[in-house]
């Protein structure tokens, strides 16, 4: 294990349980398990990361890797509703010095929407069809601010204007279905920002939008982050999105972190075979048509019968590379391979560097 003092970056080594947090947002050994008829679904199984205000963390991973479950856990949204009492959650989530996993539901509720806010993937279904966009923003504002409707409405118009919605005075009284997809996502962002949250989580904020609108929304999020100085978590399965906007990247696989580090390291010196696969499957304009898109072969792991050892093992092309006596059933723990750069793979440093520079990088 490395010296903790070296990891000043946003993504750092987990501190031991119970210790006071070092970062604005600190997730330690988070586990979110859902009991189902088929067995216990281990959607998130021991995840740790840190994030400072003013920085952006990108969480990437294929469908089902536990990205949304992680973000909903931070927001305290798993325990609500009729299915809420079955969820098994453990670990620690520290936000601004407060631990959320052990906090009472009402304490977390009061932070939700005020200190931490969330943007969802599909703004059409994420907004209530029967209320005007303005009323939905007003509602979000008035939950945490004792102001009259007029003041709240002025605030809604102001935010709609800020997120680039033309004629906000008129639009404020329109319904979500009267907005275009991009406008809806802007309105959603306005709703999330209405209380100046210190943490903003965006779960696939651009997936439902077409490419040009995607870029605009990402620009907007970046600008707003600069302006508000908040911490941003952006979740996506599109590495292109995080390349543009994130400071740090966390790669998830089967409910665990397999690699994390500063964005440059992940793109130019990635160290985990799964990250190599993700990079290889990234569509790029400058890549020849013939050899673009090499998808990661095989199926995502079962979250009920998680493979012993490395969860990526069944799909990993380098599973059989000798690892100096480490057996297949031994689970690789995250360890630092460079400044603030961590990986969970048994490959030796030499093998890793050799495979990356000789086999992977030339093909990208």
């Amino acid at each position: 294990m490395t010296d903790l003092s070296k990891t000043g970056a946003a993504v750092g080594e987990p501190v031991r349980a119970g210790e006071p947090p070092r970062a604005f947002l600190e997730v330690r050994d988070l586990k979110v398990h859902f009991p189902t008829d088929d067995g216990l679904v281990k959607s998130v199984d021991g995840l740790s990361f840190q994030l400072e205000k003013g920085r952006t963390l990108g969480i990437v991973g294929e469908s089902g890797s536990g990205k949304s479950v992680t973000s909903l856990a931070v927001m305290g949204l798993h325990r609500l509703g009729s299915r809420g009492k079955n969820v098994q959650m453990s670990g620690e989530i520290w936000l601004d010095g407060k631990e959320l996993v052990s906090a009472s539901p009402d304490e977390v509720r009061r932070m939700r929407g005020r200190q931490m806010a969330m943007i969802f993937q599909d703004p059409l279904s994420a907004m209530h069809p029967y209320y005007t966009v303005g009323n939905q923003i007003v509602e979000a504002y008035r939950v945490h601010n004792k102001v009259d409707k007029k003041t709240a409405r002025r605030r809604a118009v102001e935010l709609l204007d800020r997120v680039g919605i033309p004629e906000p005075n008129k639009r404020v009284d329109m319904y979500p279905h009267e907005f275009s997809g991009g406008m809806r996502q802007r309105a959603m962002i306005a709703m999330a920002l209405v209380n100046n949250p210190e943490l903003l989580i965006a779960d696939e904020p651009t997936t439902a939008l077409d490419v040009t609108v995607q870029a605009q929304i990402l620009d907007l999020i970046r600008d707003l982050q600069k302006e508000f100085g908040s911490a941003v978590v952006i979740i996506t399965h599109d590495l292109g999105v995080v390349a543009e906007i994130a400071d740090d990247i966390l790669v998830m696989y089967g409910g665990r972190c397999v690699e994390r580090g500063p964005v440059d390291k992940i793109f130019y010196e990635p160290s985990h075979p799964y990250t190599w696969g993700l990079l290889g499957s990234m569509p790029r304009i400058d890549r020849a048509q013939t050899d673009r898109l090499i998808p990661v072969k095989g199926q995502p792991p079962s979250l009920i019968n998680v493979p012993t050892g490395c969860a990526f093992n069944p799909r990993c092309p380098y599973a059989d590379v000798p690892k100096g006596g480490i057996t297949r059933t031994e689970r690789p723990e995250l360890h630092e391979v460079g400044g603030g750069h961590f990986t969970a793979c048994h490959l030796s440093q030499e093998d890793r560097t050799r495979i990356w520079t000789e086999e992977i990088a030339p093909k990208l």
Binding site: H128, P129, A140, Y175
Partner: protein, 335 residues
Amino acid sequence: MISYIIRRTIAALVLLLVVTAVTFGIFFILPKLAGQTADQLAQQYIGKNPTPEDIAAVKANLGLDQPVYVQYWDFVKGIVSGATYDLGPTTVRCDAPCFGYSFKDHIEVWPQLTERLPVTLSLAVGAAVLWLIGGIAAGVVSALKPGSFFDRSAMGVALAGVSLPMFFTGQLALLLFSYKLEIFGRTYVPFTENPSQWANTLFLPWCSLALLYSAIYARLTRSGMLETMSEDFIRTARAKGLRERKVVVRHGLRAALTPLVTVFGMDIGLLLGGAVITETVFSLHGIGEYAVQAITANDLPPILGVTLLAAFFVVFMNLVVDLLYATIDPRVRLS
């Protein structure tokens, strides 16, 4: 919105015309197609042993020997401006809206309907209030704690409610609470005369009817609520930091109950056309009982009258539902 209202109203009027035409066709064209002569047809409108004069009078009054469209036109004219029945020695003036004349009972149909409508209306509205409160409350609580003891028992009762016939539950309640314990009266008293007596007599029929309907509404509410509470916008509402109670009421219920408006409109429309079984079981002299009497006596004009009235209520409630829907769901106004 205004144009939407106008369009729906016109559509409702057209629908009403079509419905009356079809009803009329069933009463007057089908028998002709089946080969009945005008004389045979006329005979059905009169009691036993009709004289040739009676038959001739009925034939003339109903225009049975005329083409059906003339007959229909006369009938519509009667509704709008009244009609006069020439019964040989006497003539009867049937004021607008003239819904026909019973040659068997020697009485106009419309006053019979208006006399009975308050009974049916009282029954339907009172029961509706009960079943809406009971059904929706039970459905919501069940949906919020699916699989809980309350959920299981409520759904058990609901299953019993829909499967037990009114003949059974109604008779049982009547026997126990009215005949044996003598808590509830059995003679209908108009609300305007004595409200407490009115409620006292109607209480058992309300409950019996409400048991049946709240069972259906509880199940509808439960499934609607379960579905909406897993919608994305519920998650958004929670993400704002709203209290769970507000999430349920303002965001969940609002969306879950919308489809119920349609069902409710239909149910009320149908009930106003006569709660046949309930009225029979509890001997309430409402529209439904009138229909049963007319059918038993094979007296066609009252049957036609009740049918048209029922059709009117259904079409009318349909219109109400359409308009309500547009105020509830803004997406409807567009199309």
